[in-house]
Amino acid sequence: MTINGVPREADVWPGESLLFALRERLGLPGSKNACEQGECGSCSILMDGTLVCACLVLAAQADGHDLVTVEGLGENGSLHPVQEAFVEAGAVQCGFCTPGLVVAVADLLRRDPTPSDDAIREALSGNLCRCTGYAKIFDAVRIAATRA
């Protein structure tokens, strides 16, 4: 499979999740491991350009696919505009939900550069945050939308 533009290989147990393989075998702990049930979105990544929960994808099924994790969003060592916007808006508290949200927002803005509030709510409905109450996260999306 290709991860963040680089061809990678891993030996996996056929029953393990892609999230486990990314974090424990491929040295990419950016995608967070919270519920492992598809409920929180903190493990969100892009698989062939589609937003998915890495905890629900079988690692072996990702063979041959193109993956982008939060580690692969920024270019040349600088932050992605969505990451900068999260910092500026103060949209991060404990930070557990942040990597998944950043990937989900980057995906949203790629599809819809000027999303309505409803579109933002819909796109982020699978990403839960226990800390911020979402207002700051909305601010971050709006800041990022002015720059993308």
């Binding site: 147990w13 056929p14 029953g15 393990e16 999740s17 492992e36 049930q37 598809g38 979105g41 969100s44 589609t50 937003l51 998915v52 929960c53 905890c55 629900l56 994808v57 079988l58 072996a60 099924q61 989900a104 709510r121 819909e122 796109a123 409905s125 699978g126 990403n127």
Partner: protein, 280 residues
């Protein structure tokens, strides 16, 4: 354990059974495997063996909920049921076939309590917490089937084509009994291939949830008027997707102390759904 990737339905059927389990999007299977609720000697990735996509009134069982929710040719009731199900990430991976066969969300079952559905001799939910549980068909197991999609397909009068037979969707399901915990009639080596979904004159899906998005149905009501006849399908009210022939059927509900609140919700949603499909 191993992963096999057959390229045809015949090949897949030959591999299935005897502890070899079908895997589509994996959104159900991957967590069940990790939690030890599903034991499999081999996983059979059926994504190349099962049709995917929409051709007129025929839907491939491998079609994702995300593909269905945006297709203008799909009846409103089904599009809405898909759109209101789960989260964008899940709808991108989850197939309609897998959705019909999802396991119960009953917490006792998910935490591996030895209840009827795990082959045990009692229902822990009925003796304990059961706010999310059933108001119909709850003699043995009181779980509430979580599929919005199945409710919509019941209302539409959907037929299924499997590798072995053709059947109305309702016949895919059975109520578990004390000596047989199965909730579906699908054989271990049988695959759902396609769904045949009639186009209704009018249809609607109404879902009561405990927040506006991203939650299983407390009660989901699907209604469709096809060739002048109105059908109702309900989610979240019985261990299997539930059909009502009229609003009077609600008088035969058997709510539990913890689920009595669902009955007035069902009544209100059924009345509203019937009004919505009566005209237009």
């Amino acid at each position: 354990m191993e992963l096999r990737q057959p390229s045809s339905a015949e090949e897949a059927v030959g591999l299935l059974g005897n502890g070899h389990v079908a895997l589509a999007g994996g959104t159900e299977i991957v967590p069940l495997l990790r939690d030890g609720l599903l034991r499999a000697d081999a996983l059979i990735d059926i994504r190349r063996a099962v049709p995917r996509g929409i051709h007129g009134t025929t839907i491939g069982a491998g079609t994702t909920l995300a593909e269905l929710e945006v297709d203008p040719g799909i009846p409103v009731v089904l599009r809405e049921a898909c759109r209101l199900a789960a989260s964008p990430q899940l709808r991108a991976m989850g197939s309609i076939g897998g959705n019909l066969l999802q396991a119960t969300r009953c917490w006792y079952w998910r935490l591996d309590f030895p209840c009827y559905l795990h082959g045990g001799d009692r229902c822990h939910a009925k003796d304990g917490r059961h706010d999310e549980h059933a108001i119909f068909g709850n003699d043995v197991c009181a779980s509430a089937h979580p599929s919005d999609v199945a409710a919509a397909l019941l209302a539409l009068g959907t037929m299924l084509r499997t590798t072995a037979r053709e059947l109305p969707l309702a016949e895919l399901y059975r109520l578990p009994t004390t000596d047989d915990p199965q909730t579906t009639t699908l054989a271990d080596d049988e695959l759902i291939l396609e769904l045949e979904v009639p186009i209704p004159e009018a249809s609607v899906y109404l879902k009561a949830m405990d927040r506006q998005r991203w939650s299983f149905p407390i009660v989901g009501v699907a209604a469709a008027r096809t060739a002048g006849e109105v059908r109702l399908g309900l989610a979240g009210v019985a261990p299997v997707p539930w059909t009502l022939t009229s609003v009077d059927d609600l008088d035969r509900a058997t709510p539990l102390p913890g689920t009595a609140y669902k009955l007035p919700i069902a009544r209100a949603l059924v009345a509203r759904a019937l009004r919505a499909v009566a005209t237009g």
